[in-house]
C-alpha cells in the first residue's frame, strides 16, 4: 500500500564530517522523492520532525538503521523510534527500500543543507496565534444575509406557533392565493439570483489571458510550484519545484493544479486570511484557476480536501511584492 506514511520519512540525519564524500546530489533527489512531503530541513515539523541538524542529535549508526528499516526498529521497541512514533500521531514511517549507499547520500544531503542554512520557520508561516481578522466581503455579506433569512424564518415560525393561542377557522382559499404569490415571488427571486450569479463563476474564460502561468502539483502532504507541468513523481527529478513563490503585485496568475496521489484542495487565502480562491487538485486532471493578486503581502495556501493524517499541515505560500 502506497500510503502517506510512505513519506513519513527519515527521522534521521546525521552526517558526520567524514560523510562529506557522500553524493549529496543524489541525496537531494532522494530527499525530494521520498522525504520532502513529510519532513523539512530547518523549516519546522511537518508530518514528521524537522531534520535540521539531526546528525548532531542522533548517532550515525542509529540513523542508518532507522533510514533503512524504521518499522523493524519500532517493532523491536527501540525507545527513540517508539517515542517518535508516539509523538508524531502514531504514523509509521515506511521502509523506503534504500541501500546503505543511498542512505548515506541522503544523510549527507541533510547535513549539507543544515550546515548551509540555519533553521528557521518557512517564510510567511506564523508561529504565534493571530487574532481573528475583521470579516470582509463577500464572506460578510453571505453571513449577514444568512442571519437575516434565519431571523425571518424564526419570526414566522414563532408567529405561527403563538397564533395557536387564539384558534380560529382559516380561509384556505386565501391561504392558497398567498401560496401562489409566494411561489411566484420565490421563482422570480431564484431566477434573479441565478441571472446575477451564474455569469460570475470562477471558471477560466478562454477570452482572457493571464499575466503568468504557474503549475501546482499536490501530493501528500505538500504543494509544489513549478514553471513546467509535473505529470508524475519521476518528473520531480527534472523539474525545479518549491513550496513558495513570489509574484509581482497586480498580477493575474493562472494556476494549473493537479495531484499525484489523492484529491487535495488548493485553497488560496488572502492577506486578510480569508479564502480568496480555490480549486480541487485531482489525480489525472488539471484544474485551472486564476487569481488576481492586487495587494502586496503573504497569501497562505492550505489544503481544502481531506487527504489523510497530514492534511492540516499541508500548505504553501505565495508572496506578493
Amino acid at each position: 500500500m502506497r500510503n502517506a506514511a510512505a513519506r513519513i520519512a527519515l527521522l534521521l540525519a546525521a552526517v558526520t564530517h567524514g560523510a562529506a564524500t557522500a553524493d549529496t546530489a543524489s541525496g537531494q533527489v532522494l530527499f525530494q522523492q521520498k522525504c520532502a512531503a513529510c519532513h523539512t530541513i530547518g523549516e519546522g515539523d511537518r508530518i514528521g520532525p524537522d531534520l535540521h541538524d539531526v546528525g548532531a542529535r542522533r548517532e550515525r549508526a542509529w540513523l542508518m538503521r532507522f533510514v533503512t528499516d524504521p518499522q523493524a526498529m519500532i517493532a523491536a521497541g527501540d525507545p527513540v523510534a517508539v517515542r517518535l512514533y508516539e509523538r508524531y500521531n502514531r504514523i509509521v514511517m515506511p521502509n523506503l527500500a534504500l541501500d546503505d549507499t543511498q542512505a548515506s547520500a541522503l544523510l549527507a544531503h541533510i547535513d549539507e543543507v543544515s550546515r548551509q542554512h540555519p533553521a528557521s520557520v518557512a517564510v510567511g508561516v506564523a508561529t504565534a496565534p493571530m487574532p481573528a481578522p475583521a470579516l470582509r466581503s463577500p464572506q460578510s455579506a453571505i453571513l449577514y444575509g444568512f442571519i437575516a433569512a434565519t431571523l425571518l424564518i424564526v419570526t414566522v415560525f414563532v408567529w405561527v406557533a403563538r397564533s395557536t393561542r387564539d384558534p380560529a377557522t382559516v380561509d384556505t382559499h386565501r391561504a392558497y392565493a398567498l401560496r401562489r404569490v409566494l411561489f411566484m415571488a420565490g421563482l422570480v427571486c431564484a431566477i434573479t439570483v441565478l441571472a446575477l450569479t451564474l455569469p460570475r463563476t470562477p471558471y477560466v474564460q478562454a477570452a482572457t489571458t493571464p499575466d503568468r502561468v504557474i503549475h501546482v502539483t499536490a501530493r501528500q502532504f505538500e504543494f509544489l510550484f513549478s514553471d513546467v507541468a509535473v505529470d508524475s513523481t519521476g518528473d520531480l527529478l527534472n523539474v525545479a519545484t518549491s513550496d513558495r513563490i513570489t509574484v509581482a503585485a497586480d498580477t493575474l496568475v493562472e494556476f494549473r493544479v493537479t495531484a499525484l496521489d489523492v484529491n487535495h484542495g488548493f485553497g488560496v487565502y488572502g492577506v486578510d486570511r480569508q479564502l480568496l480562491a480555490q480549486t480541487q487538485a485531482m489525480p489525472g486532471y488539471v484544474n485551472r484557476v486564476r487569481v488576481h493578486f492586487r495587494e502586496p503581502g503573504h497569501y497562505p495556501v492550505l489544503c481544502l480536501e481531506y487527504c489523510a493524517a497530514g492534511h492540516h499541515l499541508m500548505r504553501a505560500g505565495i508572496t506578493v511584492e
Partner: protein, 473 residues
C-alpha cells in the same frame, strides 16, 4: 405490541445508544480543535470518519425504521425483512467499529477515491471498511425494495406517486407520507446502486490493480452521499406529514400541488448532487450550471409547498403542544434554516469562498440535527407518550426542548461564523493564522454538550414513558 412496533422500538434503541456515543466523538473532535484533549489528537481523523459514517448511517436507518412504522399504518412491510435490516445494520456497524478502532481507518465518511488506498492505515482496514459498506448497502437495498413491494401491493407506481390526483381523481386516497416515502425510496435505490458501483470499482482496483477515473468516482460518490442524506431528510418530513395533523386537529391531505411538488423533488434531487463538484473545474461546465439550477429548483417546492403547508396547518389551530409536536414543528424550521445555508453554498460564486470550510458542516448539521433529528425524536416521542398523558409535564417538555434547541443553535452558530471566516473543515488543528478557529471550536463543544445533555434527558424520559405505555397496553 404488533411486530412493527417492536421493530420501531428496536430502531429507537439503536438510535438512543449510538447517537450519544457518536455525538460524544463529535464533541471530542471540536475539543481537540480547540486545543484540548491533546492525547486524542492522533485519533482525530479516525474519530471523524466514525462520527461521519455513523451519523449518516444511524439517522438513515432511524428514518427508514420510522418510515416502515408509518407505512405499517397503510400497507404491510415484511417483518422478516425488517429483522434482516436490523441484523445487517448491526453487523455492518460492528465491522465499521473494527476497521476504525483497530485499524485506525480514516478516509472520511465519503471515502473519496482513491484515498482509502493511500492512507496511513493498513490495507486490511480499508478492505474491511468497504466490506462493511457492502453489507450495509446490500441490507438497505433489500429493505428499500421490500418497502416498495409493500406499497406496490396496494398501489400502482402511478398511484403511489399520486399521478391520479393530477387527473382530478382522489381515489385511491394516498396519504402524503406514503407519496414522500415512495419518492424517497426510489431516490434511495438510485443512490445505493451508485454506491455499489463505487465499491465494485474499488474492488476491481484491489484485485487487478485497475485504477478508476477520479472524476467519475467523485460523481458517483457524491450522487450516493448527497442523495442518501437528502432522502433521510425527506423521510423525516414524511413523519411530520403523518402525525402533525393529529396535534393540529386538521387534515394534511394529498392534492395536486403536493403531488407536483414531490414528483419534482424526485426528478431534481438526483441532479442537485452536482453542486458538490463545483470546485472540480475539469467537470464539464454545463453540469456545473445545471447543479446550481437544480439546487435552487429542489429548494423551491419544499419551501413553498411543505413548509408553507405545515405553517398553514398550525396557524390558529387548536394545537396540542407537547414535546412531540414542538420537536416536529422545530424540525421543520431547522430544515428550512439549514436549507437556506445549503442554497447559499450551492451558488457557484459563493461556493468558491465556502467550499470545504466550516460553512459546509454548518448547514448540514442544521438540517440534520435541528431538522431530521428533531423530526425523528418528535416521532419517537409521539409513539411513546399517547398512553402516558397522565404523566404529561409541560415544564419537562419545555426544558428538554430548550436544551435541544439552545444547544443545537449555539453549536451551529460557531460553525457558520467559522465558515464565514474561511476556517477549513476537517482540520485536526488550526494554523496560527486561523487560530480563531480554535476559539469557535471550544464554544461549539460547550453548546454541543448542552445539546447532548438535552438529548440524554429526552431519551431517558422517552424510554421511561414507552415502557409505561407498553405496560398499560
Amino acid at each position: 405490541m404488533r411486530t412493527i412496533d417492536t421493530q420501531t422500538a428496536l430502531w429507537m434503541a439503536v438510535t438512543f445508544i449510538l447517537f450519544p456515543v457518536l455525538a460524544l466523538l463529535g464533541i471530542t473532535m471540536r475539543t481537540v480543535q480547540a486545543g484540548g484533549l491533546e492525547a486524542m489528537a492522533g485519533w482525530f481523523y479516525p474519530l471523524m470518519t466514525l462520527h461521519g459514517v455513523g451519523m449518516v448511517g444511524v439517522w438513515y436507518v432511524a428514518a427508514m425504521g420510522c418510515a416502515a412504522s408509518v407505512l405499517a399504518r397503510h400497507v404491510a412491510p415484511s417483518p422478516l425483512i425488517g429483522r434482516i435490516a436490523l441484523a445487517g445494520t448491526v453487523i455492518g456497524v460492528l465491522m465499521l467499529l473494527a476497521c476504525v478502532l483497530l485499524g485506525r481507518f480514516a478516509a472520511g465518511w465519503y471515502f473519496l477515491y482513491p484515498l482509502p488506498l493511500h492512507g496511513e492505515w493498513p490495507l486490511w482496514s480499508a478492505v474491511l471498511f468497504l466490506a462493511s459498506l457492502t453489507v450495509l448497502g446490500a441490507t438497505w437495498l433489500v429493505w428499500s425494495l421490500d418497502l416498495l413491494r409493500a406499497i406496490a401491493a396496494r398501489f400502482t407506481l402511478a398511484q403511489a406517486l399520486g399521478w391520479h390526483y393530477l387527473r382530478g381523481q382522489t381515489e385511491p386516497v394516498l396519504p402524503p407520507s406514503l407519496l414522500i416515502v415512495t419518492v424517497s425510496l426510489i431516490a434511495g435505490i438510485a443512490a445505493l446502486v451508485s454506491a455499489v458501483i463505487v465499491i465494485v470499482l474499488f474492488a476491481l482496483e484491489l484485485l487487478t490493480g485497475t485504477s478508476s477515473d477520479a472524476l467519475l468516482m467523485k460523481n458517483l460518490t457524491f450522487f450516493f452521499g448527497h442523495t442518501l442524506v437528502n432522502l433521510s431528510m425527506y423521510l423525516g418530513v414524511a413523519l411530520a406529514y403523518e402525525i402533525l395533523p393529529d396535534y393540529a386537529g386538521r387534515p394534511w391531505k394529498t392534492n395536486p400541488v403536493v403531488v407536483v411538488s414531490w414528483n419534482t423533488v424526485l426528478a431534481i434531487v438526483l441532479l442537485a448532487y452536482l453542486h458538490h463538484l463545483y470546485m472540480d473545474f475539469a467537470q464539464p461546465g454545463g453540469l456545473q450550471y445545471l447543479g446550481q439550477v437544480a439546487s435552487y429548483a429542489s429548494a423551491l417546492p419544499a419551501a413553498i409547498v411543505t413548509i408553507f403547508g405545515a405553517l398553514l396547518l398550525v396557524y390558529r389551530a387548536t394545537m396540542r403542544w407537547n414535546l412531540a409536536s414542538i420537536l416536529l414543528f422545530a424540525g421543520l424550521a431547522g430544515w428550512a434554516i439549514g436549507g437556506i445555508g445549503a442554497v447559499i453554498d450551492s451558488t457557484i460564486s459563493a461556493n468558491t469562498r465556502l467550499h470545504n470550510t466550516l460553512w459546509v458542516p454548518a448547514h448540514f448539521h442544521t438540517y440534520m440535527l435541528a431538522g431530521l433529528v428533531f423530526l425523528i425524536a418528535g416521532y419517537f416521542a409521539h409513539l411513546a407518550r399517547p398512553a402516558a398523558t397522565a404523566d404529561a409535564s409541560p415544564r419537562r417538555d419545555r426544558t428538554i426542548a430548550l436544551l435541544l434547541v439552545g444547544g443545537a443553535y449555539g453549536f451551529f452558530a460557531m460553525f457558520y461564523l467559522a465558515g464565514a471566516w474561511s476556517i477549513p473543515r476537517r482540520f485536526a488543528a488550526y494554523p496560527a493564522e486561523l487560530a480563531h478557529g480554535a476559539t469557535t471550536a471550544g464554544i461549539a463543544a460547550a453548546f454541543a454538550t448542552l445539546f447532548l445533555a438535552g438529548f440524554l434527558y429526552y431519551a431517558l424520559d422517552t424510554v421511561r414513558q414507552w415502557r409505561t405505555a407498553t405496560r398499560t397496553d
